[in-house]
Structures are given as structure tokens and as C-alpha cells.
């Protein structure tokens, strides 16, 4: 650990801190002195306590409400809130990648997105990440004096600090830029109960093989405490909403366990889940490409295999 200031942009939904933020703070502690930046409405006391427990030496609050949803605005205020930080960590999302890009243009920082880890080596930030649908491992050095790294969820084991940090709450306000874009309507998406797909430690996904019936997929997800995902096919059929799509143009997931049910494993789908820890596949087609990357594969009918697995897992829990 060094004296380097490492700022973590807190990912939160309303009052609730997203788990990957705690992973980022854990990583930040291994690099230097963690600072948390909270954008949006004022954070609740419970959130501040959690940030302290994970080592935040300061909690910088940028109370700009919904304006934080605009990537250019978020980047402009972050430039002020992170002026003393050599490293800024964010949780990888489409939105934070835009914020990171704008912040880098404002500050001259180098950017690595979708990293699995970051460390300080001879005064420079080095990152690791997987590319080309997780078939390659890449190590990257940031040449600039400042680094912005967006981190994939589930790549660092979150752990609280040995003792909570002071985490003084400080209000920060930067110059808000002129905004050309106007959000004319926002329709909130009803989320499944539980952990969001992108952050879930367990994902159970269904594809064409479900024939549109997600009952068993949801049941297995419930038993395993996971989130429900889907292939592009299932979205196109209208079987399940777009938020569930796992793939290169949907959500990229890196859970500890990925269970693919009736998903053939087209290259676009694999690109969104291939970096998962353990991959399990159930498919009626023995030649389905998903079996090429599955740690455990069952060639069989979902209607036979899933109820049996659910029952066995439930029985164990009760036993």
C-alpha cells in the first residue's frame, strides 16, 4: 500500500450501495488510500457507514441529483472531486465507460475498461483483463500520470477493512457544464427482486430451449440465490425483457457460477459470459457449442433435468 489517493465512484441504486463498489474499495485499499465519491442525492447514514467499513478515508458527496445521470455532467464534477487522485476506479457499465471517457479527456488520464484487477507497479498502474470473449488475458500499463479503471463485478473478493476508516463526509461541487441533450421521458424498469444481473454471483440463463417458459429457470435461480439471464433468441421472441439479455450487446456477466439452460452458445452469447467462474450447461443438442466451454454439461431435456436438480438442491438445503 502507498500514499496514492485512489478514488472509487460509488455505484448505487437510490440508497443502496451496489456490491461491486465494495469490491472496488477492497481493491483500492490494496493500492493506496481509498476515497469514495457519491453522486446524486445525499447518501443515507447507513451507506456512509458501509463505505467507512470498507476503508473510505473520505466520503465526498456531489449532491447534483438526477443531473448525475448525464455522463458529461458526471465527468465534469468528478474532475473536481478527484483532482487529487492519481487513480479513479469505477464499476464497469455502459454509463461509467462514457463518464470515464469524458473524465479522461478532461484530465489527460489513461483509461482501461472492464479490468479484472489493477496494481501499482513502479509508479504506474497496471491492469489485467480478458478480451476477445475471454479467450485472451491482457496486461496493460497506463502511461499517463492519472489512470481511470473500470472494473468488472465479481473480480475482487470484497472484504471490510480491519477497522473502519474515518470516512469524513465532505461536500464537493464542480462547475456544471452546459448540456445539449434533453431527457424528455424516463420510464423506470421494474427489476426482478434480488441482485441485478450484472452483479450477481450466480446467473441462471434460459434460451431457445425454454420454449418461452422461464418457470424452471427462475426456480433454479431462486434455489441458487441467483439472477435470471437470457439469450438474444429469447429476447427476440419476446419471451423475456431486454434487461435480461446476456451477450456482447447486452449485459456482460462474470458470476462465480453461470448455468446455461437451453442456450446453444452462439459466439455473441459466449462473449457476454465466457469469463464466468464455473459454467454449467444443459442442452438437448449434444453438439451445442456451449458444451465447448462448460465445466459440467448435461445433454438432456430441460423439463427432465432442471426439476430433478431443483429438487435435489432443495432437499439438501432442508437436510
Amino acid at each position: 500500500m502507498t500514499d496514492t489517493m485512489v478514488t472509487v465512484l460509488v455505484e448505487h441504486r437510490g440508497n443502496e450501495i451496489a456490491q461491486p463498489t465494495l469490491e472496488a474499495l477492497t481493491l483500492a485499499r490494496s493500492i493506496g488510500r481509498p476515497i469514495a465519491v457519491w453522486m446524486g442525492e445525499e447518501p443515507p447514514a447507513g451507506a456512509v457507514t458501509a463505505l467507512r467499513e470498507y476503508g473510505a478515508e473520505e466520503v465526498r458527496v456531489v449532491a447534483i441529483g438526477d443531473r448525475a445521470r448525464h455522463s458529461g455532467t458526471a465527468a465534469a464534477v468528478l474532475a473536481a472531486a478527484t483532482a487529487d487522485s492519481a487513480i479513479v476506479l469505477m464499476v464497469s457499465t455502459f454509463f461509467t465507460k462514457e463518464v470515464a471517457t469524458r473524465l479522461a479527456i478532461a484530465t489527460g488520464a489513461g483509461v482501461v475498461v472492464d479490468a479484472a484487477g489493477a496494481a501499482l507497479v513502479d509508479g504506474r498502474v497496471e491492469t489485467t483483463q480478458t478480451v476477445f470473449a475471454a479467450t485472451w488475458n491482457v496486461r496493460t500499463r497506463v502511461n499517463a500520470d492519472r489512470a481511470i479503471v473500470t472494473l468488472r463485478p465479481n473480480t475482487t473478493q470484497a472484504a471490510p477493512a480491519d477497522r473502519p476508516a474515518a470516512g469524513e463526509v465532505i461536500s464537493v461541487m464542480g462547475m456544471l457544464p452546459e448540456v445539449r441533450e434533453t431527457v424528455v421521458s424516463v420510464t423506470p424498469v421494474e427489476r426482478d427482486a434480488g441482485v441485478p444481473l450484472s452483479e450477481a454471483a450466480v446467473v441462471v440463463a434460459g434460451g431457445r430451449g425454454t420454449r418461452g417458459d422461464y418457470t424452471l429457470v427462475r426456480e433454479l435461480a431462486d434455489v441458487l440465490g441467483g439472477a435470471v439471464g437470457a439469450s438474444r433468441d429469447a429476447i427476440d421472441e419476446g419471451w423475456i425483457s431486454h434487461e435480461h439479455m446476456v451477450g456482447q450487446t447486452g449485459v456482460t456477466v462474470t458470476p462465480v457460477l453461470y448455468v446455461a439452460c437451453g442456450i446453444s452458445g452462439a459466439v455473441h452469447h459466449r462473449g457476454g459470459m465466457q469469463a464466468s467462474g464455473t459454467i454449467v450447461a444443459v442442452n438437448i443438442d449434444p453438439d451445442a457449442p456451449i458444451f465447448e466451454i462448460a465445466d459440467f454439461g448435461v445433454v438432456g431435456d430441460l423439463g427432465d433435468v432442471l426439476p430433478q436438480a431443483i429438487e435435489a438442491l432443495k432437499a439438501r438445503r432442508q437436510g
Binding site: 454509463f95 456482447q248 426439476p307
Partner: protein, 264 residues
């Protein structure tokens, strides 16, 4: 209306094997136009086709080595009017900021013949998938930015998009000029037909160097890149993989596997 579409030359995601007269068809190319850029080209063509003949022009622009010309040729086959290939060995190794600088300079060069109202990009390139280029290019051009559009409409000098964010569906507008990135939900790209393929053969591709578009080579390329790849290695294949046929207890075996691995 003048529209510029940026397209990227990327390695093919999978080799599309086929047979011709009983033998495997072999092509010299293993690269192609980024698949998600087809949605950008389609969006531009649909906007053009909605206007009276002659009221819109579509340019396709790519940046890259000599092979990258394939990306704009593909765009010509799909029906764009003009193709530009910025080709200069100084560009090699550019990071996203260098690439955005070059693309912005190319757009400004095109603007010498008249203003560009709209720049359309794909949502990501299927090689690196960083999704950073649209934002970087909008910043370089200093125009409004409408990203991840699942639909796009332009009327009375205003672009309107819908986008599906993880927590909400949004409708966002911005006055032109603007940059729009479209997702693969925005449309279904057309296939080039024989007539268009033949017509594309006679359409010229303008090849520009950095000097042509006034970019200082020192500001782009590997030397100017803010990041350097230190090493890249293939991920070792997953070991000890098990595949069973369900003969009546497949579900039980699956559950046992998860329990043994500590996953359930």
C-alpha cells in the same frame, strides 16, 4: 442532410465456412466491417431514404491500415454514397483518443463540402468492446451525444432516440449536429444485393493521409497512446470438463456437481 457513419475493420468473429461446387470456399480476408457498424449504416440509409431523392448524402469513414478499406467497401455495397479511408502508418497503435482525433479531423474535412448534421456509430466494436469511441468522438467534435439508441428519428433539426438503460427506458433529444450510437436493436441491417455490389465496384474510395486532414502524427499512434499492452496470452482451456448424457439422473448429478464445488 449529410450523415457520416464511422465503420471499423475487425477480425471476423467466426469464420463463415461454405461450399462452392463441393469444395470449401476460401477467401483471403479474415477481417470484415464490424457487425455492429452495419446497424449504424442501416440507420443512416433509412434516414436518407425517408427524405426526397437528393436531399441526403451518406459518407462512410474508416481509419486503419491498407486492409481496413474492406470496411468502407462493405458500406458502399450496402448503399452509402461516399467512402473515405484514412490510412497512415503513423496511426498504428492509437488509443481511442487518437482514433477519435483522426475521425474528427476526417469529419471536418468532409465539412469543407458542407456541414455534417449527424455522425452515426455502432454501439461498440466487437473486437475490444470498450464502447468508448462514440463518447470520445462526440467530445472531439464538440457536438451533442446520444448513445446506445435503440431507435432514432430526426425531424426539424432535432434528433430523438430511445435507449434502454439497466434501470430505466429513456427518450432523449438533442439539436443537430449530433453524434448518435445505435444498438443492434435499432434496426435489421440489409444485405447487399447484386445490383449494389456491382454499383459499389465503380464507386471510388477516397484515401486520406494524416497530412491531408491536418492531424499532427505525434498526437496519434502508439507513442501518443495513454495505455500500452504489456502482454497478451491465450486463456488456457478449462480443464477437467465433464459432459454427461441424461439417462434419468442428470439433474441429480448436476446438483451433486454444484454441491461438491461449493456452489450450492
Amino acid at each position: 442532410m449529410r450523415i457520416v457513419v464511422t465503420v471499423k475493420f475487425v477480425p471476423d468473429l467466426q469464420s463463415h465456412r461454405s461450399f462452392t461446387d463441393g469444395t470449401v470456399t476460401r477467401t483471403a480476408d479474415d477481417g470484415t466491417m464490424n457487425e455492429l457498424d452495419e446497424n449504424a449504416v442501416e440507420a443512416a440509409l433509412q434516414l436518407k431514404e425517408a427524405l426526397p431523392e437528393g436531399e441526403a448524402e451518406v459518407y462512410a469513414v474508416t481509419v486503419g491500415g491498407p486492409d481496413a478499406v474492406a470496411a468502407v467497401r462493405k458500406a458502399l455495397q450496402l448503399g452509402v454514397d461516399h467512402a473515405v479511408h484514412v490510412c497512415d502508418e503513423s496511426i498504428a497503435g492509437s488509443d481511442v483518443f487518437g482514433t477519435a482525433r483522426v475521425l474528427a479531423a476526417a469529419v471536418r474535412e468532409i465539412e469543407k463540402d458542407g456541414p455534417v448534421d449527424l455522425v452515426i456509430t455502432g454501439m461498440a466494436a466487437l473486437d475490444a468492446l470498450t464502447s468508448m469511441l462514440p463518447t470520445a468522438l462526440a467530445a472531439e467534435l464538440d457536438v451533442a451525444q446520444l448513445t446506445l439508441a435503440s431507435s432514432l428519428a430526426v425531424a426539424n433539426g432535432v434528433a430523438t432516440i430511445e435507449r434502454h438503460m439497466p434501470d430505466a427506458h429513456e427518450t432523449v433529444t438533442a439539436p443537430l449536429p449530433a453524434l448518435v450510437s445505435v444498438t443492434d436493436e435499432a434496426n435489421t441491417p440489409r444485405y447487399p444485393n447484386f445490383k449494389l455490389i456491382m454499383a459499389a465496384r465503380t464507386k471510388p474510395v477516397a484515401t486520406w493521409s494524416l497530412t491531408d486532414i491536418g492531424v499532427d502524427p505525434a498526437q496519434v499512434g502508439a507513442m501518443a497512446s495513454r495505455t500500452t499492452v504489456l502482454d497478451a496470452s491465450t486463456q488456457p482451456p478449462r480443464e477437467n470438463r465433464v459432459k454427461i448424457n441424461d439417462t434419468g439422473d442428470g439433474g441429480v448429478q448436476l446438483a451433486r456437481f454444484l454441491i461438491e464445488r461449493g456452489l450450492a
